[in-house]
Amino acid sequence: MNCTEFLANLTDYFDAKTAATLRSELERHMGGCNHCHVTVNTTRQTIEIYRNDELYELPDAIRTQLHQAVLAKCAESKRKKKQTKA
């Protein structure tokens, strides 16, 4: 396996479902190739850093407001539907 083939399979490397044979081939390449080794480690860190980044959480007060606004619109559209049927 060369670096281009390795890169093409990088998405699968991070997928837990990837077949063991492919995984061990990828690991064998990585063991002898510093560039791909660094690429894998830093890509993994990229994913982890974004995953751990606590974006702004929706406060409960705003959630309740949003729910009420949506429910009001839903009730209104239900009412209109009934009217057109009648």
Binding site: L7, H35, T39, T43, I49, Y50, K73, C74, S77, K78
Partner: protein, 210 residues
């Protein structure tokens, strides 16, 4: 009230949402409220990742759930309710970006114009726990700027698959893409983000062990 067949009972046990959806179809708004309570935070997060704008994301939560209510009869249960909902939210997010920027094309088909980042160039190791060298606000800003450099369609793939934790198949369903298309976009999104973050997180040259 109709009795459920064994098959329907099993389906409901697999996806408890389906029972709620049936109630909503029958006009039960409190069942719909329950679904909102369950998924509003996740929908908000996805919208925020794609639009990078808090107010837009709040509006998208509203629009997504209202659309879902209006189209509830079109939900056939072929996918999870959540995946169906995410698909609406992604479309709403892309539509909003299009409006805001009055761009001609903000769609899933946006391609990264250059090959920048598709092929790794920076092979420096990163500092251990590099994010700890920045305070929370700095880090948030840096991550936001970096992800903004991706076309929205790629941001969506990365947000669904890597941040929200949807499977490749679910991401494909939610975005209306094939599985190979999701994989190739995910690879490019990850590599581009990695390449850009590397500028901040790489080990300083002097520190390199020789």
């Amino acid at each position: 009230m109709a009795t459920l067949t064994q098959e329907e009972k099993e389906a409901n046990a697999l996806h408890p949402d389906l029972a709620l959806v049936e109630k909503v179809k029958a006009g039960d708004l409190s069942a719909f409220e329950q679904l909102m309570r369950q998924y509003d935070r996740q929908i908000f997060r996805i919208a925020l990742h794609i639009t990078q704008n808090r107010e837009d994301a709040e509006d998208i939560v509203q629009d997504t759930f209202f659309k879902a209510f209006q189209k509830i009869n079109q939900f056939q249960g072929n996918s999870k309710f959540y995946t169906w909902l995410v698909r609406i939210a992604v479309n709403e997010s892309l539509m909003r970006l299009r409006k805001r920027r009055s761009q001609k094309t903000v769609s899933m088909d946006d391609e990264i114009q250059t090959e920048e980042g598709s092929i790794p160039r920076d092979f420096a190791d990163w500092m251990p726990n590099p994010e700890q060298n920045y305070n929370q606000a700095e880090l948030a800003d840096l991550l936001r700027k970096t992800i903004q450099g991706l076309p929205p369609g790629f941001r969506a793939v990365f947000a669904l698959r890597d941040i929200d934790g949807l499977s490749t198949e679910e991401t494909a369903q939610a975005l209306g893409l094939s599985v190979p298309a999701v994989k190739s976009r995910l690879l490019r999104a990850r590599l581009q983000l990695r390449e850009r973050l590397s500028r901040y997180f790489r080990v300083a040259t002097g520190e390199h062990a020789r």
